[in-house]
Symmetry: none
Subunit: 183 residues, 4 copies
C-alpha cells in the first residue's frame, strides 16, 4: 500500500479522535474532518465512503485494543479480573469513550463491538451450556450490557463516581456471569 495513503488514513483517524473529544459525532462534518486532518475535502472520499466508515475504522482499533486487554484475563472463574482491566482501560481514555458511547457514534460502536465479541465467542472451543439461550443472544446481551454499564459510569459526576473495582464487580455480576456461567 502506498505510504501516502497510510499517512492520510492515519491523519484522518487522528483528526476524528481529536474532534470527538470536543463535539458529538453527529455534529462533526466531513469538511471539518478534512480540515482538521490537513487534507483536501475530496481526498476524504478517496479513503472512506462516509464519516461513518471512518468511525467504524476508528472503533475497530479502539475496541480491538480494549478486548486485547480484557479478554486474555477472561475465564469462568476469574472474569472479575477481566472486568477490572476493562474499566482501567476505559478510565484512561474517558473523553474518547464518552464520545463513542453517546450520540450518533453509539450504534456504530455497538455493532463493531458485537461483531468482534461474536468472533471471539466463536473461537471458544467448548459447546456453550445449553440453557435455551442462543449463543447469539448471549453475545448480544453481554456486549450491550457491558457498553451500557460503561456508558452509565462515564455519565456519572466525576466526583462521586464509583471506583473501578466496584463498577467492575457490578459489570461482572450483571452482564458477564449470567451469560458465561451456567446461569
Amino acid at each position: 500500500m502506498d505510504a501516502r495513503q497510510a499517512r492520510t488514513r492515519a491523519k484522518l483517524l487522528e483528526a476524528l479522535l481529536s474532534l470527538l473529544e470536543r463535539e458529538p459525532f453527529e455534529a462533526i462534518t466531513v469538511r471539518a474532518l478534512a480540515a482538521a486532518a490537513g487534507v483536501g475535502y475530496a481526498t476524504f472520499f478517496r479513503h472512506y465512503p462516509s464519516k461513518e466508515a471512518l468511525l467504524d475504522d476508528l472503533a475497530a482499533d479502539e475496541i480491538a485494543e480494549l478486548l486485547g486487554r480484557a479478554m486474555p484475563l477472561m475465564s469462568v472463574k476469574d472474569s472479575g479480573r477481566a472486568c477490572v482491566a476493562l474499566f482501567d482501560f476505559v478510565a484512561r481514555r474517558k473523553a474518547l469513550w464518552r464520545a463513542l458511547l453517546t450520540g450518533g457514534a453509539a450504534p456504530i460502536l455497538r455493532a463493531q463491538f458485537i461483531d468482534q465479541a461474536r468472533a471471539i465467542a466463536a473461537g471458544f472451543a467448548g459447546p456453550p451450556p445449553d440453557d435455551g439461550c442462543p449463543v447469539d443472544l448471549r453475545v448480544t446481551f453481554a456486549t450491550s450490557a457491558t457498553l451500557e454499564i460503561i456508558a452509565w459510569w462515564l455519565g456519572q459526576d466525576e466526583a462521586e463516581a464509583l471506583p473501578t473495582e466496584r463498577i467492575a464487580a457490578i459489570l461482572n455480576r450483571l452482564a458477564i456471569t449470567p451469560t458465561v456461567g451456567q446461569g
Copy 2:
C-alpha cells in the same frame, strides 16, 4: 384546547406511526410527515420543534401502554408473568417496535423508557436491597437490557424465532431478576 390542535396532533402521530412501518426514522423528513398527515409543513412546527419531539410523544404513549400491561403483573416472586405479557404486547405490534428500536429512533425511545421506568421505580416504597449497585444504574440496566432483548428478538427470522414464553423467560433471568431480587 382548540379542537383543531388536537386533531392535527393526532394526525401527525398517526402519520409518524404509519411511516415508521415503512422506513427508518432517520429517513423520514418533516416534509414527508406533514404530507402524510395531510397537514401544512409549517403547521408541524407549531406543534413540535422537531421530528424527534414528535417521536418522543409517540414513544411516551407507546411505552406507557406497554408498561401499563406489564407492570401490574410485576412482583418479586412472579415477574415471569409480566415478561410474558410484555412480549405478547410487543409481538402484536412487531413492525412498529422494530422501527422504534432500530436506527435513529432507538435513543429517544430508550430515554423515554428509562424515564418512565425510573418514575415507576421511585414509586416503589421499600428501600432497595443494598448490594452496592445504585438504583439509577439498576433501572438503566434493566431497561436497556430489556430493550436489547426485545430488539434482538424482533430482529430474528420470523420462522425460527423463539416463542414468547421462552424469550420472556430469558428476559426474566437476564435482566429482571438480577436487578429486582437480592442479586
Copy 3:
C-alpha cells in the same frame, strides 16, 4: 357607517403613521400593524386588502393636506410663495415624510401625488402653452421633481440643511417654472 368601523380604521391609520416613523414601510408587517393598532389580525383585512391599500389611504390624506396648503398660492407669477408653503409644511412633519419618500412607500406615494396633481391640473381652465410637451408629462415631471427635491432635502444632515426659503427657490426654478410657464 358603523361607529366601530370608523374607530378601527382610524386606529389602523394612526398605527401605520407611528410605525412609519420607526421603520421603513417594507419592514412593517400586517401583524405588527394590527398589534400596534390594538386590533385583531383578521380585522385588518376586513378594512384593507393589503398594507399597501392602507398606505394609499394615509398618503391620500397627507397629500391632500399638503396640496391644500400649497396650491391656493400657486400662480404663474408667484409660485415661489407656494413652494415656501410646501416646504414649511413638510418641515413640520419631517419624520413622516422621510418615511413616505424612502423605501417601499415611495412608489405608492408618488402615484397618489401624481393622481391628485393631475386632477388639479385638469381643473385649470386655460389651454396650456403648447411647446410640444404633453400636459401629462408636464404634471408627471413637476410632481416627480418636487418629490425628488423634497426627498433630497429630507436626506440631508439636519445641521447643514438648506433653509426652507433657499430650497423652495430651487424647487421653483427647477421644477415649477419650467412646467408652468412658457418654458
Copy 4:
C-alpha cells in the same frame, strides 16, 4: 478566477435580463432565477447575497453602457445631441428599460445611476456655477428627472409615442440645461 464562476455569473445576469422582460422584478423569485439560469438554488447565494445585488450588477453594466453612449457627446452648448443618443439607446432596449424603471427595480437602478452620474460629475474639472444649488442636488435632480422622463416615455402607447428627437429635446430643456448651464 475560476472559469465556472464567470460562467455562472453570466448565466445569472442573462437569466435576470430575460425574466425582467416578462415579469416585474418583485415577482421574480430567487428560485425562478436559478432555474432560468440552469443553476442550483444555493449556487445563487454563492455569487450574490440577494436578487437585489444581482440587479445592481446588471444595472451597473446597463447604465455604464448607456452613459458610455451619451456622455461623450455632452457639452454645454450641444447637450441636445447627447440626449438624442440616450433615447436612441433606450429605444433599442425598450422592454428591459421598462422593467428597470418600474416596480421594485427602480430604486436600485436609480441609486446606481446617481452614483455613476456623481462619479462623472466629479471628473469635470471646472467649478460649477454657483447659483446656490449644491452639486449633489444638481446631480440627483438631473438624474432623477432624466429617469422620470425616460420612464414616462416608455410608458406611453407605442403608437402615439413621441419621436426620439422630440422627447430628447424635452429632456434637454427640462432636466439637462437647468442643471448644467447657468440656470
